[in-house]
């Protein structure tokens, strides 16, 4: 079975060493997803696989046959940006922009995770539904580094999309 990326099917690579990240960038030509550390520490390569965010650098492309992958290109485009992309623009949630595709993929999935009631290390009551506090956002986004330090504006953008005042 092929892998589906942003609703388009692609054949998987012959070489099993190819990471999902390299496959997206070099084989599928989707260079929005960025390679930062290539070791799962920075989050620049974050994409959604079957709706769930993962580090694409730590996954082999051949293991993803039949999976549906959404990259930053699948979330929105320059003419039709997603709500989260617009919020990052509005709040200046970046400086150099290199970590931004990963931040936006991560943030988009993170709001769904909170809505689904998944707890985090910042969740005080494990048996209650988690609330979208600043502490929750910072903990849940800790897998996405921004070396320009745009964190405050990233949190503001996420709160904006979630319908809370920044």
């Amino acid at each position: 079975m092929p892998i589906t990326i942003n609703d388009t099917p692609h054949d998987l690579p012959d070489d099993p060493r190819v990471s999902l990240l390299d496959f997206l960038r070099s084989h599928a030509g989707l260079t929005g997803t960025k390679k930062g550390c290539d070791h799962g520490q920075c989050g620049a390569c974050t994409v959604l696989v079957n709706g769930v965010r993962i580090n694409s650098c730590l996954s082999l492309a051949v293991t993803h046959d039949g999976d549906e992958v959404t990259t930053i290109e699948g979330l929105g485009s320059p003419v039709s940006p997603s709500e989260m992309q617009m919020a990052f623009l509005r709040h200046d949630g970046f400086q150099c922009g290199y970590c931004t595709p990963g931040q936006i993929c991560s943030a988009t999935a993170m709001l769904k995770e909170i809505a689904a009631g998944w707890p985090s290390d910042a969740t005080e009551d494990l048996e209650a539904s988690p609330q979208l506090t600043g502490e929750e956002i910072r903990e849940r986004m800790s897998g996405n580094l921004c070396r320009c330090g745009a964190y405050a504006n990233i949190v503001a953008a996420i709160r904006d999309v979630a319908g809370e005042s920044a």
């Binding site: 060493r17 799962g40 580090n55 082999l60 051949v62 293991t63 689904a116 707890p119 290390d121 800790s142």
Partner: protein, 326 residues
């Protein structure tokens, strides 16, 4: 990454047969293994992908809970019964890694993750775990993350995980399948001390695959996972304590404790429960518990701080559980 032969296991029996092959490793979530393959620390000739096996279920097993080997760390931590009946496990999982990693990482893979010792992950350095007989760079080198309990002259690496520390406090059991056999191993006996064979992290034999982890019936009490690390998120434990504590008439009736970041395995010392159970909580008693825990502790320079840190972390946990002022 070195070239390897990729095989997909369709059934458990098939996986065990394939995994028994020479120089073969099983791939589940891959968040540690693929990283180590990139670093050429792991160079398997054959990779058996077990990720599509039906081992992801989390289910009641009559008394306790059976967590499938391929249940993601996220699924386990978010499971209603884990959150209500085994909160120390949910807390421990959530204290580790990042959401992206927990979404991919599995129960079995988490147990089998390898040390983050800098000498182990750098193939230009000596390491008896990676290359038996090459020496240990950490003993006289950079050893901040390293063990203070149960070390050997060959290896002072730590087991890096959080989940297994909680599983040790909960006295969980690891269910294992091999080619034609099955066995159960208490999680407290699953990981090994380095001794003369630091290349062995745990009791798994070639071809054996973890199928699930079973938790005993819930015991109630106060569940705490306290992790001390160098930043407030996404860092390995310098020291952690998993605790399941219960009291009656101001005396301990249960004191199941396990420690992370201190040894080559989640550390469990049954003498601590023996000391605490039946006694009234007090700062003096907690000090005695720490004395027991640390009586054979040995620092290696950079990690000397872990000995007083472990004492303070244990004391803080016992104070939190009992309301005693430190």
């Amino acid at each position: 990454m070195r070239p390897f032969d990729y095989q997909r296991a369709e059934r458990l029996e098939h996986a065990a047969q394939l995994a028994a092959g020479e120089d073969t490793m099983a791939l589940a979530g891959g968040t540690n293994l693929i990283d180590l393959m990139k670093l050429q620390v792991e160079t398997p000739q054959t990779l058996v992908d077990i990720g599509r096996l039906s081992l992801g279920e989390i289910a009641d097993d009559g008394e306790g809970l059976r967590i499938g080997a391929l249940a993601s760390n996220t699924a386990t931590a978010a499971h209603p019964r884990v959150r209500s009946d085994y909160p120390v496990l949910a807390r421990a999982i959530l204290a580790g890694a990042t959401q992206q990693l927990r979404n991919k990482a599995t129960t079995g893979g988490n147990l089998c993750q390898r040390t983050r010792c800098y000498y182990f992950t750098n193939i230009d350095q000596p390491c008896n775990k990676r290359e038996p007989g090459s020496g240990c760079g950490a003993i006289d080198g950079i050893a901040k993350l390293h063990a203070v309990l149960g070390t050997s002259p060959h290896c002072i690496a730590t087991y890096p995980g959080d989940m297994a520390v909680a599983l040790s406090a909960l006295d969980a059991t690891v269910e294992i399948a091999g080619d034609g056999h099955e066995r159960s191993v208490p999680v407290r006996e699953f990981h090994l001390l380095p001794g003369d064979t630091p290349e062995r992290d745990n009791v798994l034999e070639p071809g054996e695959i973890i199928t699930s982890v079973t938790l005993p019936a819930p015991v109630g009490g106060t569940h705490i996972y306290r992790k001390v690390r160098e930043r407030s998120s996404y860092a390995f434990a310098l020291c952690s304590v998993a605790a399941v504590i219960d009291m009656a008439d101001n005396r301990f009736t249960r004191a199941d404790l396990a420690f992370g970041g201190l040894a080559h395995k989640p550390w469990h010392d049954p003498r601590i429960a023996d000391l605490l159970i039946g006694s009234e909580p007090s700062a003096a008693l907690f000090d005695k518990a720490a004395d027991l825990l640390l009586e054979d502790a040995q620092g290696y320079g950079e990690n000397d701080f872990k000995i007083p840190l472990a004492r303070r972390t244990l004391t803080a946990v016992l104070c939190e559980a009992t309301g005693v002022e430190a």
